[in-house]
Symmetry: C2
């Protein structure tokens, strides 16, 4: 909001300044009227581009980001989250174990805990839930 006030203040000042400039040029004849008009055109062209860009930015759909706060809220630990990513990549427990340099038993434990925390019965459901909770990118 403060930016909007600033922009419109600058806009009004620019208009007044240009009016004065044009009058001065008109009377003194130092600056040709063509250059004055060109400056005005350029200034308002830039203002148009800037204001439009600002308004469009607000309309843009919120880009989906990982909600790290929700991960904490659900009590999902660092290691569990790494396992969750492995699941979403379509890896088996064995493959996740090899990727994280731990045993398959460990992965099974993590998966079991994840399913409870995500309120899911299967790993496929866990993927769905995690994406719905914005814990994983779509």
């Amino acid at each position: 909001m403060k930016k909007t006030v600033f922009v419109f203040s600058a806009l009004i000042i620019a208009i007044l300044a240009l009016f004065q400039l044009s009058k001065y040029a008109y009377i003194s004849g130092d600056i040709s009227i063509e250059i004055g008009i060109a400056v005005i055109a350029l200034v308002f062209f830039v203002i148009g581009v800037y204001i439009n860009k600002k308004s469009l930015r607000k309309q843009k759909v919120a880009s989906p980001k990982i909600d790290s706060k929700k991960i904490e809220t659900l009590g999902i630990s660092k290691r569990e989250y790494e396992v969750l990513i492995g699941i979403s990549e379509g890896l088996s427990n064995r493959e996740i174990a090899d990727k994280l340099f731990v045993s398959e038993s460990t992965i099974k434990t993590h998966v079991s805990n994840l399913l409870v925390k995500l309120d899911a019965k299967r790993r496929t459901q866990a993927i769905q839930r995690a994406k719905a909770l914005q814990i994983l990118l779509p």
Copy 2:
């Protein structure tokens, strides 16, 4: 491309017209210089907004759609695709069977065929592959 040429032609004509208008107003004194400047400012403001909107539209990401042609190419049948959707929803074979009013054996057959067609080893990998192939929405 044709539109761009048109826009720039209109822009140049507008500039020339405004130059003439300003000169005419300057000589005859019929129109005050403030109004002339205001018109110029407005015109270029609008041009700025329009050009910016056009350039931003092109930058927008193409909205992801289901590639039904790819489904055919992979030889995935109607029923198999329904099963695939069930898998992506995190359902078990039993649940998919109940949803489609068929036996679990049938679902297993469909899943097995799907895994071959999607070149996946697990249903979780099938989800990943299907989304990568734009067969399923992200």
